[in-house]
Amino acid sequence: MSSYLRKALVLIFAVLFVVAPVFEEMAQAHNRHSGNLRRLAANFRGFEGIASELQTIAPPSGTPTPGSGGAVIYQKTLYIPRDINVLFATVTAGANSHDGARLMMTCLIDGVPCNPGQIASGAPAGWVVLQRYADYNRFFTGFFTGDGGGAAGDLHNNSINYTWCTKLSKSWKWKPRTITIKLASFNLHGTILPFVTLEGVHFFIDGARLRGPNACTVDTTPRP
């Protein structure tokens, strides 16, 4: 083989294996942070004293659509980079429940539940139960107000933390999205003051580009 031919082959190799991948990769360059979790919003509320608690007695509902009912405690419209296909919404807070009320939360993106499914603990579709405590007043005779007026049905200052994931459908138009988080009180026994409250609340909205079976899908590991 002549040295010219050899040099030509080496050059072709260099172009194919060293230079070409640059352009191949660059075609997807705007996706280069795709695997990374990108924080799109970080907000907080409920740090301004006793009046700043987020409080509701609004009940949750699974009708007419999953995630109905409750009270909005966070609503944010965000620019979502085009390569992101999975959004995450995280709430972390101190939580209180009164009179045995169950504290429930839901997340919606453009009004569609982040997860419309139904959990085992008796919450309406689209809702998750984050705090549940038996109201022991119902089995108690005597006088005991507890530390929140709800006596032995009160459950105060528990750390709660929950994250939803949602896959952004390919058919959705690329545009800013509105993320809504709602709080609800499930008053199982019809008590008088079934308040649920949050304080010192942080909200985090994140996004990532994840591949097929790992892009916020049902895990199929057999249940124990």
């Binding site: 083989m1 040295s3 050899r6 040099k7 082959l9 080496v10 190799f13 260099a14 294996f17 060293v18 991948p21 640059v22 352009f23 990769e25 660059m26 075609a27 997807q28 360059a29 705007h30 996706n31 280069r32 419209t77 620019y79 980079p81 085009r82 690329w174 545009k175 800013p176 999205r177 509105t178």
Partner: protein
């Protein structure tokens, strides 16, 4: 009992090394120095090298072997001026490089192409001793030159242009102002949004008039949204937020309402402090 056991282990390692080196000696005959001039005896066959050079610059030897073997050689600027002599006959290619470059830091890239049964040596990177430990493989966007990315700004594919804009803003920082202004006039919504998003995340100054114009007149809802969001810290932008209340898209109108609430709260706080 400690000393004998150490001696045994030492003997075992030595035996293994001797065995390996004698196995090597069976398959390869080598002398790393000698004859006259540069005399490539023949091309490599099945990754075996036959090559002779005397008192030649290392750089030219590496290039010649690389050409002969079809291996891309990437040699750092401050490597390769010294003269050496080598002689290899049917010698394993990677082992030849290892011997020639024993005083340097070297990365070997063994690639496995679709039709290859096993991985073969494709490229060798050579650095001065001690420099290699601070290096690691990186994706092209990390090592392609800025000029390459600038060329990509003219690509027909908006995905490529958007990626190039993103990287260039990240690389150039405050010096990317002109580039951003040009990208904000791109025909593609993707390029404009990517440029604006990256510029704002990089704290790059974009003229107020440009942001006002984008927030109110850009055809892309994503760009209008990002531009309006960028105006949120400037109370002088109240008029823009008020006009954006008539935006055709709900998300921009919602953002405008939020900004106006924020400006109102700011006004109230200021009047109280007076």
């Amino acid at each position: 009992m400690k000393a004998p056991s150490h001696a045994l282990i030492g003997a075992a390692i030595l035996a293994a090394l001797l065995t390996l080196s004698s196995l090597d000696a069976f398959s390869q005959t080598t002398q790393k120095s000698a004859p006259a001039g540069t005399a490539p005896v023949g091309p490599t066959k099945e990754n075996l090298l036959t090559y002779t050079a005397k008192n030649q610059p290392l750089q030219s030897i590496l290039n010649e072997i690389g050409d002969q073997a079809g291996v891309v050689m990437v040699v750092a600027d401050d490597v390769g001026a010294e003269r050496i002599s080598v002689e290899f006959k049917d010698f394993r290619l990677d082992e030849a490089f290892r011997q020639i470059l024993e005083d340097y830091d070297v990365f070997f890239y063994y690639g496995n192409e679709k039709n290859d049964k096993t991985a073969s040596l494709k490229a060798v990177w050579v650095y001065p001793a001690g420099l290699g430990q601070s290096l690691q493989p990186a994706p092209p966007e990390d090592w392609a030159s800025t000029q390459e990315f600038e060329r990509m700004l003219g690509d027909r594919d908006p995905e490529v242009r958007a990626g190039a804009v993103d990287t260039l803003i990240e690389r150039k920082g405050p010096q990317a102002g002109e580039l951003v202004m040009k990208a904000l006039r791109d025909d593609s919504e993707l390029v404009r949004a990517q440029a604006l998003d990256r510029a704002l995340s990089s704290d790059l100054d974009i003229p107020q008039a440009t942001l006002n114009d984008l927030a109110l007149h850009d055809t892309s809802v994503n760009v209008r949204f990002l531009a309006l969001e960028a105006l949120s810290e400037d109370p002088n932008s109240r008029w823009v937020a008020e006009q954006a209340l008539r935006d055709p898209d709900q998300s921009v109108r919602d953002l405008a309402r939020g900004l106006l609430r924020q400006f109102d709260a700011l006004d109230t706080a200021r009047s109280r402090s007076r």
